[in-house]
Symmetry: C2
């Protein structure tokens, strides 16, 4: 079975754009015409699905992947979960890699249930996972990656302001995020693909380039999912710290900056679809410049 | 608004049993008669809901709370989520406190969406939360607790074998779980109820009594949700370490040991409902003995 990160890298190369569009879709992003009849949770979830599918149609030739932020779907309970699965299936049908940003974590038996939920033969290509329970809470996900050709991104150094509160604590001469990086490298050592990167990757924020560079230099086989570009303040030059010397090894997420680009001054007056395409192209160019490609 | 942990403590006192029944309901627990017609995910989710509601009817006078493990519902996608909400609403209607064991965590904006999903005016009384993102990923949950009279349990020291891998790392002379305990105490300091315990509690496993005792002695205002009793190996005497000198300050979870008690030799031949009641009474007595009540 082809390693999922090999597949992701091939998709990135095909479009020349290491960007993942974050489908953190909120009702307020939708144009009035799509929002006005959405009275119930079911209506909202349907409108969000339609919004997502239109974006996927427009973006699938420009960005290689989407990341669906589960929280914005869980808000609408079962209707939202249906919208999330429907969006994922549609993105896959359009050839995109699909990540479910669920940050799940639990004891072994429960992690097995989560792996069954998200990393079965259908579902998603990747999910995000929290490392706090240690290896027996990670192993069921790694096993599912191996069995079903899937991948995970384990939180190492997040992009939010207070991430350092635990993640930068000194644990025997190195910050916790480096220790977690070592564990991620070890956990994924059996799932390294032909391009040299494992199906077990790490979440490394764009908001702390020095730390991203430190992680990048040390963990050569760990592919990075990089949040924090755009609305959270990260620039192309910041995100570049997460990439290897060939401009590979990472994919950068942008959520609001793409899917709600029509609400940003720069793209004012454009439809949400056109604005998303323009923003995705601008981000591609920003990253290419930063990566000197 | 009455503090949720005051309410929980009152419910515990009313039945004299600091036990939460964990509804980690799996298809294989159901009797053949309930399982045989469950062919689709929708059927399974309905059968699980029926199983849960029968247990709730039988247990609501004996145990004060249920904890619904989200993973076992997410396995059935939107059908499972509907089952989870239906189960929660039914348990509330029978006067039980309802915890959603979701272990959610994310950056601030996303944590707000999770808080809206789980800690709105309806939904659940408590959810479990992972501390890895630090305070800005916790604050939206704490705010929802204050606004809507809800509560959270933040993971401190989990019950699984590899929990120590990160949680016991030395961070400046104390293990990480103690540092997390200090943070939990601080995060919940504004939400302390009349019984002296905060709406912001901690998850502290029964499998490491010495560490539970250390946490209990230091964090007087933090109420503990204690997993690990029963199938994971914790006994009443182990769980007792999480309680204060008055036999308060904690509630002990038991999942398979109650809801699948009919599959344990000791309760062989009993219906699942009768076995659950017998197991819950045995656990109540085991805890009372250990707590010398």
């Amino acid at each position: 079975m082809l390693n999922i990160t090999d597949k992701l890298i091939d998709k990135i190369k095909a479009v020349g754009n290491p960007t993942v569009a974050g489908l953190d879709t909120r009702l307020e992003f939708l144009p009035e015409s799509m929002r006005k009849n959405a009275k119930s949770g079911e209506d909202v979830a349907k409108a969000i699905t339609e919004y997502n599918c239109n974006l996927i149609d427009a973006l699938c030739g420009i960005v290689p992947a989407v990341k669906i932020q589960s929280a914005y779907y869980e808000m609408y309970a079962h209707f939202g979960i249906y919208a999330m699965y429907t969006t994922a299936a549609y993105a896959m049908s359009r050839g995109m890699a699909v990540m479910a940003d669920v940050k799940r974590n639990d004891i072994g038996a429960t992690a097995e249930a989560y792996a069954a939920a998200y990393l079965g033969t259908t579902g998603y290509d990747y999910i995000t996972v929290n490392p706090y329970p240690g290896y027996d809470g990670i192993k069921p996900f790694v096993d599912a990656c191996e069995r079903n050709g899937k991948g995970i991104f384990v939180l190492a150094r997040m992009s939010n302001p207070s991430a350092a509160e635990l993640q930068n604590l000194d644990v025997g001469g190195e910050p916790l995020y480096m220790r977690v990086g070592s564990l991620i490298e070890k956990w994924g050592s059996g799932l390294i693909g032909e391009h040299g990167y494992s199906a077990v990757g790490a979440v490394v924020g764009a908001t702390n380039p020095q730390e991203a560079r430190e992680l990048r230099n040390r963990f050569k086989s760990v592919f990075f999912l990089v949040p924090g570009y755009g609305a959270q303040g990260g620039k192309g030059a910041d995100a570049a710290a997460a990439f290897d010397e060939n401009g590979g090894g990472a994919i950068v997420n942008n959520s609001r900056g793409i899917i709600a680009a029509h609400m940003i001054d720069r793209y004012n007056g454009m439809s949400y679809v056109d604005a998303a395409v323009a923003a995705a192209c601008d981000m591609r160019d920003d990253l290419a410049k930063a990566l000197k490609l």
